[in-house]
């Protein structure tokens, strides 16, 4: 998928090298495809921006011990930083009661990968390799009973992990200027 994404960008740069400036004000420049790739760390729910790489919970346990355990606790429950494992109060019938714990509450496993990749480990963000992020994501999903310990997480498998809140969240209303907050609500 990554290579498909590169193609139109290259074509665009080729086509626009004569008129690299924007149409009305002529300000700014066209970024090189590598620049866009390097900056674009957002992962969509279907994972098309996910890079190559892979890992399992078994691999993740090693990285976690080295990079995460001192803040989040050895098992992700008793650290100074937020817990990473669902609470006992939740159930398949009431997944929201598992608590606001990213690897169980998020409707998509891609958000877990994205957040670890962009924001952790705190103070050393951006130092993990793609393999390490896949491996730790696999570990957190394993701890939350969502994948098996030896299940390989990569750009194909990660978006397919079934999260308990995939269908339980309310989408936002279509927005238009001058519209009330909620139709029929006087306040």
């Amino acid at each position: 998928m990554r290579s498909f994404k590169l193609l139109p960008a290259l074509v665009l740069v080729g086509a626009s090298s004569v008129a690299a400036q924007s149409p009305t004000f002529g300000l700014g420049r066209t970024p090189a495809p590598e620049e866009v790739l390097a900056w674009d760390i957002s992962i969509s729910p279907t994972g098309e921006e996910l890079p190559e790489g892979s890992g399992t919970a078994v691999d993740g346990a090693l990285v976690y011990r080295r990079s995460c355990a001192r803040c989040h606790g050895a098992e992700g429950v008793d650290g100074r930083a937020p817990r990473l494992v669902k609470s006992e109060r939740g159930s398949d019938e009431d997944p929201w009661a598992y608590g606001r714990v990213l690897p169980i509450r998020s409707p998509y496993a891609t958000t877990v990968w994205d957040y670890i990749n962009r924001g952790m480990p705190l103070n050393r963000e951006g130092t993990l390799t793609a393999d390490q992020v896949y491996a730790i994501t696999a570990l957190l999903l394993y701890w939350n009973d969502l994948v098996a310990e030896d299940e390989v997480m990569n750009r194909e498998t990660l978006p397919l992990v079934e999260m308990p809140n995939a269908d339980t969240w309310a989408p936002l209303p279509d927005w238009a200027p001058g519209q009330p907050r909620w139709p029929g609500y006087p306040y």
């Binding site: 700014g28 866009v36 729910p45 929201w96 969240w169 936002l172």
Partner: protein
């Protein structure tokens, strides 16, 4: 040196206190203060951490810091007192504006990168807008307005309309959402409808006549008028046009199970609060008081504010200061002579699209369940006791 004890305030009792005081006094003729002013040491209004979590926390992260609305005069919050919130705790990044870039990419005809200087060359807008955190909720445990309402502030923002930049890039068919990303350590990112981006979102580089303060996103942020504060992404470095709600970490953190709850948490409702007299203040005795407050709405301009000084039995129109602006604080006042008896002060906002600020009881009755659903825009009651002390009257 020139600094002497000022002519107002209590007369110092002995020479030593004069000396101590003169050592602490700023020299307003010093080159530093001639070049860049400072407020009087007698003015001590301060922000404070709110919502039950320390800032900084044990990791040094800052989370929710409320603005001292009880001291605010007029609609604009001084930049140094503007409330300060982060999605989850964050550090404030140090950004050299000469190095800073904004990239616009994704489903656009022309991907673009701008320097700060280039952004400042675009046609600009200057608009008054409030920003309010979805966590700005009042409850019976709050004693002062900084705790109950301190996560809203209003500033005059200057920047380029995001629409101008998106038109430069050319949004492609199906590009119905944008994601906006900051460059702080978690690179906080939110999804926003392109319809809003094409309407009134400002890519702002200045507030209240000067560059943004670092805690407000220096050198660049977006201001999303009338929407919950988390969407006004600070330290803005990237906007990607996409075809769907992207479920970023920020998005995930604000999910709701119920569509009405999700909608009511998104756009800020009509809201007002009496800032003076408010919780924790004391009235020195019966007689004349100007009741003062702020009103605002995510739905547009404030069209009317009503005040009750008898616990809601009678309501009167308050005076609005200046011309209300869309999605901006509007200051109001009401002349009141206190007869010394116990009473409750209330205010309610009516906005230009007819939304009316509710009491907590009205919200509970509407939904048939206790509490305030969605963003809390309920009427704040302040009880004045016979001794002049003012208290939060939420039960």
């Amino acid at each position: 040196m020139g600094a002497v004890a000022p002519g107002i305030g209590p007369t110092p009792v002995d020479a030593q206190s004069v000396e101590t005081q003169s050592q602490e006094m700023d020299d307003y003729s010093s080159p530093e203060l001639v070049a860049y002013g400072k407020r009087s040491p007698y003015v001590t209004s301060m922000r404070q951490p709110v919502n039950g979590r320390p800032s900084p926390d044990e990791f040094g992260l800052v989370f929710h810091i409320g603005t001292p609305l009880q001291d605010q005069v007029g609609a604009i919050t001084p930049s140094a007192l503007h409330y300060f919130g982060t999605t989850r705790g964050s550090f404030v990044p140090h950004i050299d504006p000469a190095e800073h870039r904004l990239m616009i990419h994704g489903m656009v005809d022309r991907e673009l990168i701008f320097t700060m200087d280039e952004l400042k060359r675009f046609p600009s807008v200057t608009r008054l807008h409030f920003i309010e955190c979805a966590g700005n909720r009042s409850n019976s445990r709050h004693r002062t307005i900084i705790e109950s309402h301190g996560m809203t502030s209003c500033a005059e923002w200057t920047g380029v309309l995001l629409r101008t930049l998106l038109e430069e890039a050319g949004v492609q068919d199906g590009g119905e959402w944008i994601i906006a990303e900051g460059l702080e350590e978690v690179k906080g990112t939110s999804s926003l409808p392109t319809a809003k981006a094409m309407d009134d979102i400002i890519v702002a580089y200045a507030m209240n006549g000067e560059p943004l303060r670092p805690q407000q996103g220096f050198p660049l942020r977006i201001v999303v008028p009338g929407f919950e504060g988390i969407l006004s992404v600070k330290w803005l470095r990237r906007i990607k046009v996409v075809d769907r709600f992207y479920m970023t970490y920020n998005d995930y953190g604000h999910l709701r199970q119920d569509p009405s709850d999700a909608a009511l948490s998104y756009q800020i409702g009509p809201k007002s609060v009496i800032t003076s007299p408010s919780g924790g203040q004391e009235l020195p005795g019966q007689g004349f008081y100007e009741v003062r407050g702020l009103a605002w709405s995510g739905g547009g301009r404030v069209s009317r504010v009503e005040v009750s000084t008898d616990g809601g039995r009678s309501w009167f129109d308050a005076d609005l200061r200046g011309t209300p602006q869309p999605m901006a604080h509007t200051a109001f006042s009401f002349n009141w002579t206190w007869d010394g008896s116990e009473t409750v002060l209330l205010s309610r906002c009516i906005d230009e699209i007819g939304q009316i600020q509710p009491t907590r009881e009205e919200v509970a009755e509407f939904w048939g369940r206790p509490g305030v659903r969605g963003q809390d825009n309920s009427i704040q009651p302040w009880r004045v006791e016979r001794d002049g002390s003012v208290h939060n009257a939420i039960v």
